[in-house]
Amino acid sequence: MKLSEKAEEILEALWIVVEEEGAAFLDPVRMKFPADDPAYRELTGYTLIELKQGMVYFRPEGREEGMKTIRRHRLAERLVMDVFNIRGQDGDDKACQFEHLLNEGADTKVCTMLNHPSTCPHGKPIPPGDCCTEARSTGDLGVVPLTEFKSGQEGEIAYIQTEDGKKMQKLMAMGVLPGNKIVLVQAFPSYVFRVGFSEFAIDSTLAREIFVRK
């Protein structure tokens, strides 16, 4: 089943009013396109929604599909704002275009890369996917900043993310290189970690820029 962009937008809007605002149905007047748009027919064709007295209602399958769509939308927002660093209206627009590409498993990849985020940049919850549930049950933290480690925890450096090139080079020269083993020795008042047989102290600003995986 591959839905049109308009159809996905209707599903999202319906999911928000029903699941988050507690309404029973969506009034098509609230959509940008009229009630006789073919997108509604497309959705009823897949038995995802039904139209009663001109109002849009979920069918059970539609609720599930709506959740997945909203998940893709909010993941796209996170991706566009956090990773591409595009913000504001421009960011929203790009996210709207991007979400339609996140199907057929691409959402799982993006979700894992973003380390299973639970909220969108606007603070709304992102419905968890199977990958999130699995990560939670196995206790896999994925790739996290060093600040998330507990004292004594051991891991591997995944990547360094800093805009200051000089700092990154310095860190790399000190042995903070992707693939190296790292042990967080202490987290307060400064972060102390061990790479190889050397110990280093850094502040929390830098610790946030070293990403590690357990």
Binding site: P189, S190, V192, A201
Partner: protein
């Protein structure tokens, strides 16, 4: 890996010329200890990354040939980032060393070999010293030096320089160094090799480093190398620059990272079979100590204990109390001064000249007495304390402990070292601010040092001055701390610039070796005396001149309104005039006034606070000018003077109003 022999110039070895050997390596790998062992000269050995910013040079003879040994500040990579690293690389870039001794820490062979690779790649005459083998062995690590030698194709020597192990082998390796064909060439991925070639084959000039190495540095956007290449290539530079720009743009995403990862892979292949670690980590005594020092719960009590026993008991009570009493009171006042006065008045009949040497401000009776009787014991005990602490590796741990607090002052924990050193000598500390990363941090640290940190000599004198009035001591301490906080917080807000970042390597904690501590203290004392003794003599001469010409009295009279406004007797002006020459000198002047019973507790406190805050001594001012430039130094000097007298004024009024200390 392949041999690459082409393009290596024959090293001309005429025994009449002094040959050069340069020590390079990460901070804290024992370069300075090795330097001392090779030359027998004195250089400050520190277990604190970033105290040797200067290059030390010494001489030695190996097999009858004269060698110049050059010790450089620690560097992590040939692509330099910090000031210290730049200083170190200067030597490699401009001094054509005959042997480059790369010293590394055996325990961190894997991490540090990356720089060996870079040195070999630059076609420098590298000899590798795998140092600190003793501690590595204690941790159960084994290193196959023969295999390493084979794989690298350069001389490799195992050593534990702190235990004098391997020194003879190192000397032999330097003396017998022959540039061979075995030096290996480590190949990167085909893509990177292609990029290197694209840049290197465009270069026509003559360089001390290999083109391959220069090409890589250019691709890393190394500005210093850029300017060297621009100069050497002349008109051809435009083509090189264009190619560098093109490749750098293509690989903009991750050139540095890719390069580091490729080097890591090369190193991994080299140490495979060379380096073996036990399955179970051995937790050493030093690590346990280190934990105690860095955890706030144990670290803060430890810090307080260090301050109490080290600073208060050893420097304060013992140095400034017992020893000063003995030297100044018994030796100078009791024996030496009366004797020398007798001798001088016996030889020289003119009172004016007598005055110059043994008068009230005489070079001998005042200058020498202050320098040797009061300043020497205090400064010596402080430097013993500081050098001991430095060698234990405690300072980096202190730095991480206070980093959060120092961030409020626009500094990082790193600045704790100049601050602590400032309690010994502010001039020396101002010089060490060079190890801070940004100009902003350096300026803030310089201001705080100039204003609120009393040097040990001054501290000692003021402590004994105010010790009779515990309340006065508390007011004095409170005022300084308040100003430190206010000025620190304000300058962090006012000065433009980003908040600095803190990162620091923690060297292993170790018990300092007696010899090293002595050497260090000696070097620092030597520096200190060469620095201050001429000033003391100069001050005595100027004061004498001022006195016989009557200028001095005029100056004192001119300062009278200022003194009156902060509630001090006229005579206190003398201390402030002294204070400009040396802070401690001024404080010692106050000591005399108090001895004569001319000042009460309130006046003493006001004078002590004002004098402590008062402009830095001539030496510190000159260093400020040297490190920060005229403009900044001038502004700081003015600001500090205004703040000093302003605070004195406010404090005097406050004390009068509240009736405290009366």
């Amino acid at each position: 890996m392949s041999k690459c022999c082409n393009g290596i110039p024959e090293t001309t070895t005429a025994s009449s010329i002094v040959r050069k050997v340069t020590l390079v390596g990460n901070p804290n790998v024992g370069k300075s200890v090795l330097f001392n062992a090779l030359t027998g000269a004195y250089v400050t050995v520190s277990n604190y990354p970033g105290t040797s910013v200067e290059v030390s040079r010494g001489r030695t003879a190996i097999n009858g040939d004269a060698w110049e040994v050059i010790d450089t500040p620690g560097m992590y990579s040939i692509h330099t980032i910090t000031e210290e690293e730049r200083v170190a690389r200067e030597i490699l870039l401009h001094e054509t060393p005959d042997v480059v001794l790369h010293v590394l820490d055996a325990r961190n062979l894997e991490r540090m070999l990356a720089m060996t690779i870079q040195l070999i790649e630059a076609e420098l005459p590298v000899v590798l010293v795998v140092n600190i083998l003793d501690e590595a062995e204690r941790m159960g690590l084994t290193i196959d030096l023969d295999l390493l030698r084979q794989k690298l194709g350069i001389p490799v020597i195992g050593a534990a320089t702190a235990r004098k192990r391997g020194i003879e082998e190192i000397r032999a390796a330097i003396g017998g160094y022959q540039r061979g064909c075995e030096q290996q060439c480590f190949l990167y991925s085909r893509l990177l090799e292609h990029d290197i070639h694209e840049v290197a084959h465009l270069m026509r000039g003559e360089y001390l480093l290999s083109r391959r190495s220069l090409a890589l540095l250019l691709l890393q956007q190394d500005e210093e190398i850029e300017s060297i290449v621009r100069e050497r290539e002349g008109e051809g530079y435009a083509v090189v620059a264009a190619m560098v720009k093109k490749i750098a743009f293509e690989r903009r995403e991750s050139f540095h990272l890719d390069l580091s990862l490729e080097r890591k892979e090369i190193v991994r292949r080299i140490i495979n079979g060379v380096f073996r670690a036990p399955d179970k980590r051995v937790v050493t005594m030093s690590e346990r100590m280190s934990r105690l020092a860095v955890q706030p719960l144990t670290g803060i009590p430890l810090l307080l204990a260090v301050l109490y026993f080290g600073l208060y008991q050893f420097v304060g009570v013992f140095g400034a109390g017992t020893v000063v009493d003995l030297l100044e009171g018994k030796l100078f006042e009791g024996l030496f001064n009366p004797w020398i006065t007798g001798v001088v008045t016996g030889i020289v009949p003119w009172t004016v000249i007598q005055e110059l040497f043994v008068g009230e401000y005489g070079i001998i009776t005042l200058g020498l007495r202050y320098a040797v009787g009061i300043i020497l014991p205090i400064v010596a005990t402080f430097f013993i304390f500081f050098s001991f602490l430095e060698d234990t590796g405690y300072f980096p741990r202190l730095a991480l402990l206070v980093d959060r607090i120092f961030k409020h002052f626009g500094l990082t924990g790193r600045a704790v070292i100049p601050m602590v050193l400032g309690f010994g000598c502010d001039t020396m500390a101002t010089m060490v601010t060079r190890t801070l990363e940004t100009t902003r941090e350096r300026i803030i640290a310089t201001v705080l040092l100039a204003l609120t940190i009393p040097c040990s000599a001054q501290l000692g004198v003021i402590m004994s001055l105010l010790s009779k009035y515990p309340g006065a001591l508390a007011v004095w301490g409170g005022c300084l701390m308040l100003l430190f906080l206010v000025v620190g917080l304000l300058s962090a807000r006012i000065l433009p610039g980003e908040a600095p970042m803190f990162y620091m390597e923690l060297p292993p904690m170790r018990l300092p070796q007696f010899g090293n501590v002595v050497t260090k203290t000696y070097t620092r004392m030597q520096w200190y005396f060469l620095e201050i003794l001429p000033l003391f003599v100069l001050a005595s001469v100027l004061l004498w001149l001022g006195k016989i010409t009557g200028f001095f009295e005029k100056l004192v009279a001119a300062m009278a309104p200022v003194m009156a406004s902060i509630g001090l007797p006229n005579d206190a002006a003398v201390s402030f005039i002294f204070g400009f020459f040396r802070r401690d000198y001024g404080a010692a002047g106050l000591y005399e006034l108090q001895g004569k019973g001319l000042m009460d507790a309130r006046q003493l406190t006001v004078a002590a606070v004002t004098l402590t805050l008062f402009i830095p001594c001539v030496a510190q001012f000159l260093i400020m000018k040297k490190e920060r430039g005229w403009k900044v130094a001038g502004v700081i000097g003015l600001l500090v003077s205004l703040l000093a007298f302003g605070s004195g004024y406010v404090l005097n009024k406050a004390l009068l109003l509240t009736g405290l200390l009366t």
